[in-house]
Amino acid sequence: MRAAALVLSILCTSLAAGEIPLAERRSGYEFMGRETRAMQDDDSTNPALFWLMDGETLWNRKEGAAACASCHRSMAGVAARYPKVDSGRAVNLEQQINACRTERQKAAPFAYESRELLALTAYVARQSRGMPIAVESNDATRPHLEAGRELFKRRQGQLNLACTQCHDDNWGKQLAGTTIPQAHPTGYPIYRLEWQGLGSLHRRLRNCMIGVRAEPYPYGSPELVDLELYLMWRARGMKLETPGVRP
C-alpha cells in the first residue's frame, strides 16, 4: 500500500522533470550516516583497502609480456577522464585495463566484476581521489553521451520507471527507509555494505534495473558504458572519492 502510494507520488511529481542544476549536485556521501562517512574517510578502516593492496600487487606483477608498472608511472587523474571514446567506441576504465592486458601484456583479460579487475580498477582510480571528474561533451563523446542520457530518461521494467524519476526528480526523499541519492558515480568501485564487498558501477546500475523489474544489461555492455559516460559527464567537476563506501 505504502509502496503503491510512493510509486504514485513519484509518477505525479515526475511531470516537473529536469536535470539537477550544477550547484545543487551532491555526492551520495552527503546522504550517508555519520558512521558510514567515517568508514570512508579513514583509510585504515575503509575495508576497500584489501582490494587496494591486491591491486598494488597486480599492478607490479609481470603478466604475460610486462607488468602494468613496466610502462605506467602515476595514474593520477586517469580515472577522472573515463569512460573515453576511442575510434567511435566508448570504453570505461575496467575495459581499458583489460584492453591493455590483451593488447600490450598479451595476457588473458579478467572477467568483469572479478576480484582482480575490481582490485586493479580501484588501485588506479584511487590515484585520482580528490580530483574533479573531467568527462567532456564533445563531437566524439556526444553520440554515446546522448544514448546514455536517453537510457537514463527512458521508462523501463515492469514498474515502468526511469532513472530520472528517482534521481533527478525525487532525490533527498525516502525510498523504503533509505534516502534517494542523485546517482553521481563519484566513488567507484565502491565498498557497499549491502554487498559486503567491492563492486563496480555496472553492478550498481544492474541493481537498480532489477529493482524496477527490468532485464539488466550485461556487465560491460555498450548500453551500460554509455550510461556510465552520461553519469560521469553529469557529475563533471565533482570530486572523485574512490574507494567510496556506500550503504
Binding site: S44, T45, P47, L49, F50, M53, Q196, G197
Partner: protein, 106 residues
Amino acid sequence: MARVAITAPSRAKKGEVIEIKTLAAHVMENGFRRTQEGTLIPRDIITQFACTYNGVEVFRAELYPAMAANPLIAFTTVAAESGTLEFKWTGDNGYSATQSVTLTVT
C-alpha cells in the same frame, strides 16, 4: 589467504590511552544463506580475536554469525611499557591470522 591491517601508534607516553584499530579480510559467511539452487552455504566466520601486550592478554572478542564481512575491531589499552602487541584471529575451516606491532613507550 589471511590478510589483516592494524592501525596503532608506534610511540606513546607512559600511562597514555592508545587506540588500536584492526581489520581482517574475511567473508564472514553466516551459515544461514542458501545458493540459488537451495543448498545451504556452510558457515565460515572468524570466531575469536585476541590481543596480547608483552604476553599479557589485554583484549579478547568472540565473533558470531551476525557480524559483517571484513570485521573492524577497535579498542583501547594503556601504554605501560615498550614492547610488542600481538594480534591473533582464529575461525572456521582452520582460519588463523597473526600480526604484531611494536610500541615504544617514553
